[in-house]
């Protein structure tokens, strides 16, 4: 079986110069997380992206943050980013009104191996806001549904109130050609779904480990345990892909802030085959 590779990073035009975008719309996902739709001020600045890539979003006067693109890669008229307001820049971004200006650099980085996964079962494991960079790949897989075997989405969050894209989750769950399992770490008695960490969904998920590609994004601790469970099911290391996160700054592998062993996350990642980063995955000093 051929070794799968992540897609090569696409060259961004003028990667250090922000392009002007306006907030076209915003949706509250949870109490601290919103999805912002950005539209290019100049139509020439519209750009596509591949699932898994991120942009650097510049809030003028506040700062710049790397945010995964969470929208449909089939839409080039706007870019969706799901932002959790946890610091000064993300709080400013989350508070922006329709029409506000944002600087955008990108898209940067590698993407999920959609073409290479054709003919395989695809298992998507997301934890918390880690579902955001996985949503574009799910859109892409569903747009080309006939090219893949079973598609399984396993999603874990802290509580029912922390679940992202609730309406979409319901729509996805109603599809006969997609298996969706959702779990939360804690819930009141009124919650009718699963309770437990997302890794507990893996042993009973309906996929063929020998022919599956796994796409994983979430807190690094969650990904460590997820890798272990996927390995226990028999998924090969070179068929697991993780989206890593470090302190991305320049986005083009120049500043070194996001160094991860011999890699720069912004340039060589964020999506890596697990086999590529396995030697560094449990090294505390990295």
């Amino acid at each position: 079986m051929a070794m799968l590779q992540v897609a090569e990073p696409t060259a961004a035009v003028g990667p250090v110069v922000p392009r002007l975008f306006r907030v076209r719309g915003r949706r509250r996902e949870t109490r601290d997380t919103i999805t912002v739709d950005l539209q290019a001020v100049a139509p020439a600045d519209e750009s596509g992206f591949t699932p898994g890539q991120f942009n650097m979003l510049y809030i003028f006067g506040t700062g710049e943050v790397p945010i995964s693109i969470s929208g449909d890669p089939g839409r080039v008229d706007f870019l969706a980013h799901t932002v959790r307001a946890v610091g000064a820049v993300t709080q400013s971004l989350a508070a922006m009104k329709r029409g506000a200006l944002v600087g955008v650099r990108g898209p940067f980085g590698t993407s999920w191996p959609v073409e290479a996964a054709e003919g395989s079962d695809v298992v998507i494991v997301g934890g918390g806001i880690g579902l955001a960079p996985l949503r574009p790949v799910l859109y892409r897989l569903l747009a080309r549904r006939e090219k893949f075997g079973r598609i399984v989405l396993l999603y874990g969050a802290r509580t029912p109130g922390d679940l992202l894209y609730v309406r979409e989750l319901e729509r996805w769950r109603s599809r006969m050609d997609l298996d969706v399992e959702v779990t939360v770490d804690a819930a009141a008695g009124s919650w009718r779904g699963n309770v437990g960490v997302v890794t507990t969904l893996i042993p009973r998920a309906p996929f063929d480990p020998a022919s599956s590609v796994a796409l994983v994004c979430g807190p690094e601790v969650m990904m460590r345990f997820t890798v272990r469970e996927l390995q226990a099911r028999g998924v090969r290391d070179d068929r697991m892909f993780l989206s890593m996160e470090r302190n991305m700054k320049c986005g083009v592998g120049q500043c070194g802030h996001c160094q991860y062993g011999p890699f720069f996350i912004c340039r060589d990642g964020p999506v890596f085959p697990y086999g590529q980063i396995a030697p560094f995955f449990r090294v505390r000093e990295i």
Partner: protein, 155 residues
């Protein structure tokens, strides 16, 4: 007459169990079903049974003052429910409630404890299997305790 032996043998918890041990277990097993919302057992009650879930979902809950029933874990098809029957004082530590129609095999814990005392090979085999379940649940609980999706300082 058809017995529950093939059903027990097909459940993941008893995978590859020796036929002579399965035959012993069949004598302690019965088919049960619970409607959605029905309590299977409650905290403090005598723990004299464990369940192999064949279909459905069971919520393990704890009543917390001012918060009501808090679900700490859900148990699904293919899972095992209950190990308090194995250890004194043989009392349940949580409530177990079926969240939907749930079908299971109930195994009489008292009956099994006696049989395990008579046949230590069977006892060791059962304890090994339960220890593995307990280890998996402990790992999952530790991960839950880390609150990995909680707030972290950010930008």
């Amino acid at each position: 007459m058809q017995t529950l032996e093939p059903v027990l043998a097909a459940h993941p918890f008893f995978k590859d169990l020796k036929p002579e041990h399965l035959q012993v277990l069949v004598g302690c097993a019965s088919n049960v079903r619970f409607d959605g919302g029905q309590y299977i057992f409650k905290e403090g009650e005598e723990a004299d049974t464990f369940y192999l879930i064949r279909h459905g979902t069971v919520a393990l809950e704890m009543a917390v003052p001012a918060r009501g029933g808090v679900t700490v874990q859900t148990i699904n098809e293919g899972d095992v429910l209950g190990w308090s029957w194995l250890f004194p004082p043989y009392r349940w530590h949580f409530d177990a409630r079926a969240t939907e129609l749930t079908r299971a095999i109930a195994l009489d814990g008292k009956c099994l404890r006696d049989k395990c005392e008579e046949d230590h090979n069977l006892g060791y085999e059962l304890v090994k299997r339960f220890a593995q379940i307990i280890e998996l649940r402990l790992q999952a609980t530790r991960l839950q305790l880390l609150d990995i999706y909680g707030h972290a300082p950010g930008r």
